[in-house]
Symmetry: C2
């Protein structure tokens, strides 16, 4: 995550592995990043609520993903400094702008997965029958 643009004349491109835009894409296109950002799209949540909402995520992966998102300015961590511990996470303004794009990805997956399922079944059947 320490790369910069190779030259001031370069146009930022996700296709350029030396460009920070590629790092950004890698962060924001990770499966867990997408799910955590989407889970926070409706408002702030605490750790336990995130863990319940995102089926299948481990505590370790949630902690790491939240830390990466916080470090990159996409999620804000708010510690109420109470006993017992009360910490909530919410999207930053930058995170809100990203979550709008990611919501499109979630909706696409939820709308189109039957077509992907059918395509896979067809593909596998064709290969199996030796055609």
């Amino acid at each position: 995550m320490k790369k910069t643009l190779p030259s001031p004349h370069s146009i930022p491109s996700v296709f350029d592995p030396e460009c920070s835009a590629r790092d950004a894409l890698e962060l924001i296109s990770g499966k867990w990043s997408v799910l955590v950002m989407s889970a926070l799209a409706d408002g702030a949540l605490r750790n336990g609520a995130l863990l319940r909402k995102i089926g299948g995520i481990s505590q370790k992966m949630l902690t790491q993903t939240l830390k990466d998102l916080e470090r990159n300015g996409l999620v804000e961590r708010r510690d109420f400094a109470t006993v017992p511990l009360n910490v909530e996470y919410r999207l930053s303004p930058l995170g809100i702008s990203l979550s709008q794009v990611l919501t499109g990805l979630d909706r696409w997956a939820e709308l189109n997965f039957p077509e992907l399922d059918e395509a896979r079944a067809r593909y596998d059947a064709t290969r199996k029958s030796g055609r």
Copy 2:
């Protein structure tokens, strides 16, 4: 990739690890899937052209990603059955609809990576100074 909805009454959700929508999201949010789909957004390309366009991808990863995308009905492989081998890849109609969402993700990364870079620098400086 063999899961189905847990019940006919469930609403498809990417948050449900048992739902095929989650599988779909995992496929389409992978870094290499996003880059290959985006690279094909302007039209059909052959293997060599894809390899040159997507900096940093290995032949092995490109082959695997193209196979996954073809299997899921997002990319079509066209073999002209000539010698030397001439195979091109292009988006299916389903792939085109997805690529429009993914282009939004690329543009977001290319537009906003400086803010992520700055946030990381701030975060790391704060942690380093022991605050």
